[in-house]
């Protein structure tokens, strides 16, 4: 299944890998099936027909499905895609499968920003979003300054990031311990990364913000693709690397931090989704679209597992992703060490 599809619009021509298109379509199908299952899940399972009718506004379960279950399912898909994109951006930037925002401490930094917004300020949705992005960017700046010698790539940056992650996690625990009891309880649930009880009103702002960052990613994706040829060829074929890297950090942190602001740090999706997507699409570099779609599927699947595992108690989805992600991380570290 090799080869390319050529799309034409007037004089403009664009080439797309055929395999990427097929893989992406397959992932969309899986996501739709999972969504139907997740929407039907309840005391009494609803079949796909009933779910579709409810989505259209018919039937007894219309309110429950559209107002309670749908926000959660859409949030899982959108946030999963955003985390997959963030992971792909940073793995491209660091040229390392371990260089994803959840591993190198950007999620933890974003969460520090959220905690500061909650404890010091009064924690409105806007403050959470700004605090989260600012915290993530600050963590990125610290990691960058500490790994200046090796630039923005390489194992050194990843190791420093893991250390920064550990320190920020400690800071986060300290803030929670010092906080008022009710804030602390809310923050602890959040810390695990959870989609429990999200509703439409909470999602509007984050979806709009994510839309902005995705637009930015679309604008720089062709340059990112070219940058995968290596710094020298990229620069001499016309990629402004300095500006590109800055925008990549901004978009990557923006995606992961916006998700963190709503759902807390959900690990593993950003780490694994881009690599799974890359292997499925058999592409060079870390392609964005398969990463986003794999992320959406992974997070929705993990959230389903989280809800079904200890019924009727709904686990935070972060617990499930951490458990699976831990195993994956051990395997990946093993591979990295073996390669050296």
């Amino acid at each position: 299944m090799n080869g390319t599809l050529t799309l034409r619009a007037g004089p403009a021509v664009i080439h797309v890998e055929r395999r990427t298109v097929v893989v992406s379509a397959a992932l969309v199908v899986v996501a739709v099936v999972l969504a139907l299952v997740a929407l039907g899940r309840g005391q009494e399972w609803a079949g796909p027909g009933e779910v579709l009718a409810a989505l259209a506004g018919y039937g007894d379960s219309a309110f429950v499905i559209r107002q309670w279950r749908l926000p959660r399912v859409v949030a899982a898909l959108v946030f999963g895609a955003a985390l997959g994109l963030a992971g792909a951006v940073f793995q491209n930037l660091t040229r390392n499968a371990l260089g994803s925002p959840d591993v190198i401490g950007l999620d933890a930094g974003a969460y520090t920003g959220v905690l500061v917004a909650v404890t010091v300020l009064n924690g409105t949705a806007g403050q959470l979003a700004v605090g989260s992005v600012a915290g993530g960017l600050l963590a990125a700046v610290v990691i960058y300054l500490l790994s200046l010698d090796s630039g923005l790539s390489g194992m050194r940056l990843v190791v420093i990031g893991i250390a920064v992650n550990a320190m920020l996690t400690a800071v986060n625990s300290w803030i929670v311990l010092r906080a008022e009891l009710d804030v602390a309880i809310a923050a602890t649930g959040w810390n695990a990364g959870s989609l429990n009880g999200v509703d439409w009103s909470e999602l509007r702002l984050p979806f709009a913000v994510l839309g902005g960052f995705v637009l930015l990613l679309m604008l720089i994706s062709h340059a990112m693709h070219q940058a995968a040829l290596g710094d020298e060829i990229a620069a001499t074929s016309g990629v402004g690397l300095g500006r590109l890297r800055l925008l990549m950090v901004l978009a990557g942190v923006g995606c992961t931090a916006t998700v963190t602001a709503v759902a807390g740090p959900i690990v593993f999706i950003a780490l694994a989704a881009p690599q799974i997507g890359r292997r499925l699409a058999r592409a060079g570099g870390v392609p964005l679209v398969p990463a986003a779609l794999t992320g959406a599927v992974l997070l929705l699947a993990a959230d389903l597992v989280a809800q079904l595992l200890l019924q009727p108690v709904a686990l935070p989805v972060g617990v499930v992703t951490t458990a699976i992600g831990g195993c994956y991380l051990i395997w990946l570290l093993g591979m990295e060490v073996k390669r050296r």
Partner: protein, 258 residues
């Protein structure tokens, strides 16, 4: 001799380490310039300064009278193409796709191109002799084939200037001569070619202009017949040699006497 690409009083280095000082050079338009010299004499560093990969500590590199650093990246990339050493292709990429990457500076922000791109890719592959390999994955090719694919990629960039860092290294002698003949042909078609070369005899045979470097400085430059003699070989390479006319071409031929 006219020159659009010039370097004036460059000081070059990486961090604290100074590689070159007081280097001035005018690249002759429409000629094949070969930069020669012993290892670590600053040849590659000088080339990097010309293609904006290294910002000079002091001094200026200019294209059309303007500091190269002030050109927009894509605009500069439509004028000057560069082939570095030690390139690694992304996994699973076919020859045609890799060569097409050379079209980047001619494409829009979103990567849409035009029919001119396909034509340029086809021509570049034909000129570099890799048309038959078009649908093969790059990683399956031999070293010589792979080098020709990279050359095709830079050719697809369709730049008046081609700067190449040791393009013939690791190739067998047949491929070396094919490549050098290709550069001479591109020069005949009006392009300006600058290459770092290791073999002084090949430089004399194919280049119009020789730039000899030693310890970060330019020691001599000019047409091969004017600059390459026993004295230069002793000074630049520390190699006692006889220099005589090449029986096939009349260009200087260096025969070391050690």
């Amino acid at each position: 001799m006219t020159s659009r690409l010039t370097a004036e009083d460059l000081k070059l280095g990486y961090g604290e380490r100074v590689v070159s000082t007081r280097v001035s050079l005018e690249i002759p338009d429409g000629a094949f310039t070969a930069i020669v010299g012993p290892n670590a004499c600053g040849k590659s560093t000088l080339l990097k300064a010309f293609v904006r990969l290294l910002t000079p500590t002091s001094g200026t590199v200019r294209l059309d009278g303007r500091d190269v650093g002030s050109h927009r990246p894509k605009q500069f990339a439509r004028q000057v193409g560069f082939l570095p050493q030690g390139l690694i292709a992304p996994e699973n990429i076919t020859v045609r796709r890799l060569v097409a990457r050379g079209r980047y500076p001619h494409q829009s922000l979103l990567g849409t191109g035009t029919a001119a791109d396909e034509e340029a890719v086809r021509t570049a592959m034909a000129v570099a002799g890799v048309t038959e390999l078009a649908e093969r994955p790059v990683e399956e090719l031999s070293g010589g084939q792979r080098q020709r694919v990279w050359i095709a990629m830079v050719l697809a960039q369709e730049t008046p200037y081609l700067l190449l860092d040791e393009p013939t290294t690791f190739l067998d002698i047949t491929h070396q001569y094919e490549l050098l003949a290709l550069f001479a042909r591109l020069r005949d078609e009006g392009r300006t070619v600058v290459a770092v070369l290791h073999d002084i005899n090949q430089a004399c045979r194919f280049a119009d202009h020789i730039v000899a470097m030693k310890a970060g400085r330019i020691v001599a430059q000019g047409a091969p017949k004017e600059v390459v003699d026993a004295e230069l070989m002793e000074e630049v390479f520390g190699l006692p040699s006889l220099v005589m006319p090449n029986p096939a071409t009349g260009t200087p031929m260096v025969v070391p006497t050690v």
